[in-house]
């Protein structure tokens, strides 16, 4: 893992982002489990927090290996790579590796941009959405995490050039939460809850909630860079 020297000034801390995300999955675990019990097989809360915990272990190991143990010295793509590997390699269920793909795309975009900038976020979310759709074949309206990720990608794409990351993330997270609320009205066409027919109506999709939490964690770390976990 190489250390970077020329992080763009407007970039925010991906290490902080990932740590904030871990924290919020811990808080939300019970609620996510309950949601997946209603529309799936009840393991989504465990799947998401397994991935997040493993990502945290990998982050800590990476930081320990970095000179001085400081987050500031790390490659900004490394925390996202760590999360990608954790979710891809260690999480079962459908959603785990799909989140892994999203992290992988974000990592690649951040690496290209040299940091977590608005263009990097825009490219990473778009490419992550594309990968998830190639793999899982879900369209918007199928009541999956695509219903949160797709509007977020649209919001980022529509943001004017030069939008700072805090503002871009606020737009993306808002769009994602709106998407989440929309899934409650949908009947599932992909994944496990498609077998439930109208029984799943009225309940939002847990995977979509997970995506919104991820974007909200980024927004929170930009707004409050004094990373309590760092």
């Amino acid at each position: 893992m190489s250390t970077t020297t020329d992080t763009p000034p407007e970039a925010f801390s991906t290490d902080g982002w990932m740590r904030r995300f871990v924290e919020s999955t811990r808080t939300a675990k019970g609620r996510l489990t309950a949601l997946d019990q209603e529309v799936g097989d009840g393991d989504f809360g465990v799947n998401l927090s397994t991935g997040a915990d493993s990502a945290l272990r990998r982050l800590d190991a990476a930081r320990a290996a970095t000179a001085g143990g400081a987050a500031a010295g790390m490659d900004p793509a490394a925390p996202l790579e760590a999360a990608a590997t954790a979710f891809l390699d260690e999480v079962g269920g459908t959603s785990g590796p799909l989140f892994g793909l999203l992290f992988q795309s974000l990592a690649a975009a951040v690496a290209d941009a040299g940091g977590a900038t608005t263009p990097a976020l825009t490219a990473g979310v778009a490419e992550g959405l594309a990968a998830i759709r190639r793999v899982g074949d879900a369209a918007p309206g199928d009541k999956t995490l695509v219903d949160a990720l797709h509007p977020a990608a649209e919001a980022l794409r529509a943001a004017p050039v030069g939008t700072p990351p805090g503002r871009a993330l606020a737009l993306a997270a808002d769009a994602a939460w709106t998407g989440v609320r929309g899934t409650a009205r949908l009947r599932a066409r992909r994944g496990r809850s498609s077998y439930l027919g109208e029984r799943a109506e009225g309940v939002p999709d847990p995977g979509a909630v997970g995506v919104a939490l991820l974007l909200a964690s980024a927004q929170a770390v930009v707004d409050d860079p004094g990373d309590r976990l760092g």
Binding site: L88, P97, Q104, V135
Partner: protein, 332 residues
Amino acid sequence: MAAYFENGDGSLVPDALRGFARTHADLLTLDPDHGFLLARDPAPTRRVGLLSGGGSGHEPLHSGYVGRGMLDAACPGLVFASPHNRQVYEGSLAAARAEGVLHVVKNYTGDRINFGIAAERLAHRGVPCARVLVDDDLATDSADIVAGRRGTGGTVLVEKLLGAAADTGLGLAELQELGTRLAARCRTLAVASAAHTAPTTGRPAFVLDPEELEYGVGIHGERAPKTVPREPLGPLVERMATALLDAVAPAPGSPVIVLVNGLGAVTPLELYAVHAQLCALLDRRGVEPARSLVGEYVTALDMRGFSLTLLAADDRTLRLYDAPVRTAALHW
């Protein structure tokens, strides 16, 4: 006590993999960390690695097809469960050659997602990867079925033919195009007179009246779209073969490759009797059963049933079929 001969601690699949790798140590190795099987001695002429995988319980698919002239690697999941994307990813890295790796994937949601994720990871890593989707199950050929036709018995033919083509040094796109064309020319129908024993309960996965047959059954013990009254073998084979011929529509006088496949507990006597009936019918219809495989090639644990596969062939296909192969389950 479990209905299967096992230790009852979830070790059946790992035990079987160890036993398999030890038995066929001349052909392949088992990767201890990621649980994929890798051919020891693939043809040096290959420019693309060939990998497949899927749930266990379908043996000899896919492990039995790893070796010279067929698969470079196989990724077995747990019983009737998709392999993990990491297993596929690591297997693909090991199997990939100069021009990348081709995945042969049976059309099941879990397999599609896990192979798809592995493919995304390979792309991220810069390893070229393409997919041939096998969806030969005629029983699931319906506009209502959004997921499309399932992949079943035809997989073994597609893997054999692609293996021979890969040995001739074809590139990734050419192999993908060939495999897709082969899969399109291939249809399968399966019937069962008794379900497999569910490993978790030790009881039949579904119960059939002795006077009934499950017509169009899948390889995971899903019930078929319809249940038909039992009938003697001649009429049954005629009904199945007629449907397959309609779907595959071989040109008059042209050759087909035939697979008569046992799903688990059906005896060789029955399978060869099926083959005799099928050939008699093809002879009457002026279709040439140019090559035949009869035996257990794609199973569903101990299901009592069989499948018929027809693949419309041409001279090139037959040459690929005849090319040498040396695996645990196919050898010529």
